[in-house]
């Protein structure tokens, strides 16, 4: 089985193969090429499951790296095509292939009869390939390549219905907003690699080498801070963090399976994944972690609030994705490395479930709006109960996957707070508050969609097997995946040992927490390693904080708060929405708050007014004008000046002076000859007189010179 890890590249190659085969032969096949996609993703899933199993049961494992020298880049540096397989990779492989397989199967039914059906499947496979490139990349340059390719696929799939302008605009907005963030990613990667130039390596992008150098203190602080903050800018745009989240709700213009795969479960988590990949670098700097935590906290709260006022079911889910990504990002910023990845993992399943469930509903009623739904529980029982499971998991109802993973994040915040970092308390309390918001808006969705009378214009019907099957499987995973790291988990293996690497092992601590190390070392030592008691670390203010937190214990206080939140939120949602759509939605009756939410805090309008319009309409015209009139004016001026010099040369110098000289010579010769000929009169006395006069003049001249 060990050898399986060496062949992780096969998992990547399979979807590329199917993308190419579908594009070439898909139209001739009875299933329009979708069968090729399902088959290749099925195989990729099996291989990923094997890799996941292998890395999980033997965790923590040594990362396996296999690389080909692909191209020289100059100066002795090379670009490698390589894979890096460890627990982190395995988790992502499993998540991506599972959700992608489910989405491939689901789309066979959902997209039936669509024009460009084959193209759709080819793009789904191409997306999966690109995402897997990012996931297995052994170096940052290759990761950037995967990162950009998923962006392209996202663009093409958001704009899948490109006949309509709003969809085109949504696609462009998504691509350009994320591309703006990529400025940060690319420059950040370049800065980090430049930090490696001095370390005598030919592979300055290599992730393990960069992580190792950072952990060993071989990277300058400036390099780490600048590099990671820039890379974080890329993560902000890709992973829908405020204020660059604006593209994600619009991205819902794409077909719903695309929203499930790309804009919920996988691509948008790329930023979280990349930060986790570079965690040893990020963990060097308190400043970087604080920035990341604050951005995450802002997003998880304010992003969630936006879900309250939406009528479009997919937009509710989109804002909830933004909020949940905020949790993951915030977790990374408060030392919750495992917690963040764990939430990424469970969220991938339950959010894909919710989106596919939404797709099933939309398929049935031909509308995205909840005001066109209602009473769907009876008509679509399977969609109903799976959706409820997904909602509970998202809201963090006890014993679902979302409960365990979100609690891990809150606990991480608590530990961080205990070590004396304010951001920890921020994550804990605002995280709890946002959990209330989450529960409320999901309860609102469930009541509006499933309770009351049917308001749709189409008689709703349950979806077929290919759509319901994936829903059921994802529902199971939305509960089961949580038990990888819960108070029921063994010390080894569990999700945390799975995420551990030689750098991020149980001895790893955050270096900037080590100031008060002398009195706290012992405390930290037995606190964390002896089976998951985090109490000791919580008390160790100023002492080193471990990266890994151990198996979580029960937190009765937190459990009580969570249950309380649930009761209140569901009660309120029932009161407002239990009997169908209210006359005026209470979320729209909150005065200026509602106005702010409906206007999306003004971010979209601001971006359009102060970035898009000035660049597109003002700066561009100014540049063209200056090129055509000023710069070209100089060229034209030089040209005209040369011409006028030439003209004057011709008219004055040539025609008057030179040619004038020539003509003048002729004329003057005639003029003089006219006068001179009179001298030659043949009169001898005149000659003699002139001779005498000449002699006198000469004599006078001699005297004068003397």
């Amino acid at each position: 089985m060990e050898a399986l890890l060496d062949y992780a590249w096969v998992v990547v190659a399979l979807p590329l193969l199917s993308a190419a085969l579908i594009a070439m032969f898909g139209k001739q096949l009875p299933g329009g090429g979708s069968e090729l996609g399902v088959a290749s993703l099925g195989l990729a899933f099996l291989a990923s499951a094997g890799i996941a199993w292998e890395t999980f049961v033997n965790s923590p494992i040594e990362p396996v790296e296999r690389a080909l020298e692909w191209s020289p880049l100059g100066g002795g540096f090379v670009f490698e095509l390589g894979i890096l397989v460890d627990g982190l990779t395995a988790v992502m492989l499993l998540l991506v292939t599972t959700v992608s397989l489910m989405v491939h199967i689901y789309s066979r039914e959902y997209m039936r009869g669509e024009p460009r059906f084959t193209y759709f499947f080819s793009m789904l496979s191409l997306f999966t390939f690109s995402m897997l490139v990012l996931v297995v990349a052994n170096n940052l340059l290759l990761a950037v390549i995967g990162w950009e390719l998923v962006g392209l696929c996202s663009f093409l799939l958001i704009g899948f219905y490109w006949e309509k302008k709003p969809n085109q605009d949504a696609a462009n907005k998504a691509f350009l907003t994320t591309k703006f963030g990529d400025v940060g990613l690319i420059v950040g990667v370049i800065v980090l690699s430049a930090g490696m130039f001095e370390l005598d390596t030919s592979t300055p992008f290599n992730i393990l080498e960069i992580n190792g150098a950072a952990a060993a203190g071989d990277l300058a602080t400036g390099t780490i801070v600048l590099g990671m903050l820039l890379i974080f800018l890329g993560c902000v745009s890709k992973s829908g963090q405020m204020p660059l989240h604006v593209w994600l709700p619009d991205a819902m213009a794409g077909p719903t399976p695309v929203s499930a795969l790309i804009h919920a479960a996988t691509m948008v988590t790329a930023g979280v994944f990349l930060l986790a990949r570079l965690y040893p670098v990020m963990a060097q700097s308190q400043a970087v972690m604080a920035v990341i935590a604050v951005v995450g906290v802002i997003t998880l709260f304010f992003g969630g609030l936006l879900a309250l006022v939406q009528d479009d079911l997919k937009k509710v889910l989109a804002y909830s994705t933004i909020s949940q990504l905020g949790y993951m990002i915030a977790a990374l910023g408060v030392g919750g490395y495992t917690a963040s990845m764990f939430h990424l993992f469970t969220h991938g399943f339950f959010k894909a479930l919710l989106f596919l469930g939404a797709g099933s509903l939309i398929h049935a009623v031909h509308s995205n709006n909840m005001s066109d739904m209602g009473g769907m529980a009876r008509a679509m029982p399977h969609t109903f109960w799976t959706f409820i499971v997904g909602s509970l998991a998202l809201a963090g109802f006890p014993l679902t996957a979302g409960f365990f993973s979100k609690d891990e994040i809150l606990i991480a915040g608590d530990i961080w707070a205990g070590a004396g970092f304010a951001t920890g308390a921020l994550v804990y309390w605002i995280g709890l508050a946002a959990a209330f918001v989450t529960t409320f808006y999901m309860a609102r969705v469930c009541f509006l969609v499933f309770a009351g009378e049917n308001r749709s214009h189409h008689p709703p019907h349950e979806s077929g097997k290919q759509m319901v099957g994936p829903l059921m499987l994802l529902a199971v995973l939305s509960i089961a995946s949580g038990y990888l790291l819960s108070p029921f988990s063994p010390d080894q293996p569990n999700f945390e040992t799975w995420m551990a690497t030689p750098i991020l092992d149980e001895d790893a601590t955050f270096p900037f927490t080590e100031d008060g190390a002398t009195e706290a070392t012992g405390v930290q030592g037995d606190g964390v390693q002896a089976g998951g008691e985090v109490v000791a670390v919580e008390g160790a203010e100023g002492g080193p904080v471990s990266v890994l937190h151990g198996v979580p214990s029960w937190h009765p206080d937190l459990l009580a708060i969570v249950l309380g939140i649930f009761a209140v939120a569901i009660f309120l949602a029932y009161r407002f929405y239990g009997r169908g759509v209210p006359e005026r939605d209470p979320t729209l009756r909150m005065g200026p708050v509602s106005t702010a939410l409906v206007n999306k805090y003004g971010f979209d309008a601001f971006g359009y007014r102060f970035i898009v319009v000035p660049v597109r309409d003002t700066l561009s015209r100014w540049a063209t004008y200056s090129s055509n009139h000023w710069l070209d004016g100089i060229v034209g001026g030089v040209g005209r000046a040369t011409m006028s010099v030439a003209q004057s040369t011709y008219r004055v110098l040539d025609q008057r002076v030179i040619d004038g000289g020539v003509n003048g010579a002729a004329f003057s010769a005639a003029w003089w000859s006219e006068r001179l000929k009179r001298i030659q009169s043949g009169d001898v006395q005149r000659y003699a007189g002139a001779l005498v006069a000449g002699v006198i003049v000469l004599i006078l001249a001699f005297i004068a010179v003397r």
Binding site: P72, G74, G75, I145, E148, I190, V615
Partner: protein, 511 residues
Amino acid sequence: MDPNTAGWALVVALFLPLVGAGLLALMPASMDRQIRLAAVGITAVAFALVVAITASFDFGRTGELQFVTDVGWITAIDARFIVAIDGISMPLFFLTYLLPLLCAIYTTKNLPAPGKPKAFLGLMLMLQTGMAGTFVAFDLILFFIFWELVLVPMFFMIGMWGGPRRDYASVKFFLYTLFGSVFMLIAFLAIYFQAGAETWSIQELSAMAPFGSSTFQTWAFLGMFLGFAIKVPMWPFHTWLPDAHTEAPTIGSVLLAGVLLKMGTYGFVRIALPLLPEGALRFAPIIGVLAVIGIIYGSLCCLAQTDVKRLIAFSSVGHMGFVMLGIAAMNEAGIQAALFGNIAHGVITGMLFFLAGSLHDRYHTREIAVIGGGMLKKIPKYGVMLTYVAIASLGLPGLAGFWGEFTAMWAAINPGLGLADDFQGLYLVLVVFAAIGTVLTAAYFLWLLQRINLGEPPAQWADEPLDDVKTIEWVSWTPLLLLVLALGIFPVLVFGVQDGAVSVLMGYLAG
């Protein structure tokens, strides 16, 4: 062929197009069809010969000159006829034989008014020898002659087969470039006399450099800078380019973007840098700043264009900015990036000009607003092709455009030859702005695609029968489309060939 002895092969390949032009001249003008086929034959034979040269090229020692011919020529002024090829020349030389072949094939079916294939193809073949010569000449005088030889056929191509403002555009192209090359020639002369070695050989002079005080080098570099920067063109010397491209016939634009502009960057790398290292070092930050201004400025101009072809022309200003940023980095990775960007831009933008030309053939306009969208509905294969090439041009990884841009920025973060000591901050700013340029590039291409490709075709075109990609277009374009993908996936095809030669070059630069 033995790359050590078969110098004749290179010389034959070099002059074959010129001889071909002579052969065309002998054919009676009435043999329209035969003339066009003959041109395909000539370019095909030349290309085959270059493929053979490439195949027997010793890729193990790309830093050395191969297929060398070095004979006395104008002994009175010490000029020698030195023609050879190394890893830096190879990719450009190859492109110079591929593009004319594709152009000749394309011309069998497409030739703008006033027709006259004999004159048109004859000029194209002359142009080919001129372009190829600049990439393989290793004697300054010989280089200069090929450099100037290029001007004449392009002048006539634009002036006779061009659009409505062809007279203005062709004269502007000719005079502007000539203006620059005068200063270049003066710099060559200055170096010759300063070196006092009675040789014009680029290799020998490179090995002897540096000569003269740093003031001398600065002035001499300024002269070359004017010559090369106008050709590239760098901002603010770019204004001849949009006019030349807009008015030039399709083939003229393809060759202009595909090969001609590369002569400028090649000149910087091959001549200006190794011969005048100190001057280059002084100019590097200035080049970097102008390059990045070009990237941003060119992209902004693209956003405001209403004519597809003019938009693509302005996009060249931005893309060549990345190439020059690589040169400004003054390290191996930067030169590699610049030369890769050269090739990638030649292939991608050459292809874009093919597409712009055929767009005009179909719609008889290039105004974005008049075309009005819906091309993916109306002519889907063409629409997909345009999307593909546009995406390559905006630098998507996996396609050719990425490597030149990314590597240029990467190289510029840590400029070589001690520049990092004084200008680290400046170069970081340059990298950031160059990266912002990639966003603007994406913006104008996506907006272009949205406005002409997507949506429903407007009423004006809805019932108009428009041809999708035709057979002749498939034949002449497929090699470029494949090359765009191949260079993106296998950057080693160019990086690997150049690697050794760039090392040698940097050896000259570092002294």
